[in-house]
Symmetry: C2
DNA sequence: CCTGTTTTTTAGATTAACCTAAATTTATTA
DNA sequence: TAATAAATTTAGGTTAATCTAAAAAACAGG
């Protein structure tokens, strides 16, 4: 995998995001807008990235990211999202404060650092915004999400998002120590009212109502 | 405090290190050697840094770092050393693997990040190489080091280095879970043989011999 | 399907951080 | 102390990443 400069990495990541959002073909103007640069600067960079084989380009017709480019972009995205998890879960930042810092941290180069960080964070699958974290090979395994209340006793899963995003509910989850990325094991389900006894992050055991469990989206591992 | 570029930060840090090692005046060649650049490049950068007021320079006579420059340099060094502590204590890197990574991480800009990291690491005073970590104001409080065996019962201190650096001793400490930066509280001293009962990092209680305690250098807080 | 508007590229500059080679200053030592 | 050697600076150039202004191509509405 090639070594790209910081600027090249930011361009490539932006092109990846734009191409997986809209339809492949990414326009010069769209890139310029995202990166707060001028279209002329983008044209320059497009040539450089095309020379390196991470995108293809037909004059006046936008760019496409190549397989190699996609792999590199996903590797940067992996680093970005892992650092975001670190900032929120370990350093206690709020999820809306971490993007800019991760934007810097994602460029740190070290073969070992990210795998150690991944382990330290206990191999999270989603970042604090609920976006999936690609694996070491750049693969995003977007397993279908389940509603917590529908899972069986004994199942282990990871919280990925909430249906109800109201303050009251989020505060309640906060009090329980539950956040996106938390590992949940279902210890028991009470037939009477549908409430559940669960274990959060291998440490805390709590009871949650049927109503709460209906609003928690998780993936099973 | 000014915003310096990555290259400027590396130059300034190098100048600080060279000037606090030898006598103030730092030569162009010495800087070039440290940074693996050419003297001509150093001359360029010297002008830039002098313009910004972080060093002073008299042609053909080397540079001196100013008070402002010192403060900035110490701030970068603080970040470098805190990241080193993170890499060793949290990500389980060995102390001789972390320098290059910290060399990159030290340049991440965020007002909050470092104070949160400092807290997360429990306000370490020394990095994994035994070098002191400057505080937020860039002050290094190099308290005199004591020998553990000479402290009183009830004292809390932090391990900063070992007199005996032989493998056997270091392995023994490793087994006890004791490393540079560990907090040690003296629970009891046995008059009979001078051995001590201590608590390591607020969790583990162990007994160490007089001989071991004689070889542990600590600072009291 | 022509023509005005938008998009994209090209041309030409600038700034930061380097370099080599040559000039200049300082240091050494015969 | 004069000349040789070493250190430092200057001159001139390169590459990466940006910009403005102008040219060229594509698009779109009548
Ligand atoms: Mn970035
Ligand atoms: Mn995110
Ligand atoms: Mn550095
Ligand atoms: Mn160190």
């Amino acid at each position: 995998m090639q070594e790209l400069s910081l600027a090249e990495e930011n361009y490539l990541k932006t092109i990846y995001h734009l191409s997986s959002a809209g339809q492949q073909q990414v326009s010069t103007n769209a890139i310029a807008q995202r990166l707060n640069t001028k279209p002329a600067s983008v044209s320059d960079m497009i040539n450089k990235l095309a020379d390196k084989g991470v995108i293809t380009h037909v004059k006046y017709q936008g760019v496409n990211i190549t397989e190699e480019g996609k792999k590199i972009a996903l590797h940067i995205i992996r680093k970005h999202r892992l650092w975001e998890v670190f900032l929120v879960n370990k350093l206690k930042f709020h999820w809306d404060e971490v993007h800019e810092i991760a934007e810097q941290l994602e460029h740190v180069k070290s073969p070992l650092l990210i795998s150690r960080l991944d382990k330290f964070l206990d191999y999270p699958k989603y970042d604090p915004h609920g976006d999936p974290i690609p694996d070491e090979d750049g693969v995003i395994s977007l397993k279908p999400r389940s509603i917590l209340s529908e899972l069986e006793i004994g199942t282990t899963c990871q919280l990925v998002s909430m249906k109800d995003t109201g303050d009251v509910f989020l505060n309640y989850l906060d009090k329980l120590g539950m956040k996106i990325g938390s590992k949940i094991r279902i210890l028991d389900k009470i037939e009477y009212d549908g409430s559940m006894e669960i274990e959060i992050d291998h440490e805390k055991k709590v009871n949650i109502s049927r109503q709460a469990a209906d609003n928690l989206l998780v993936i099973t591992e």
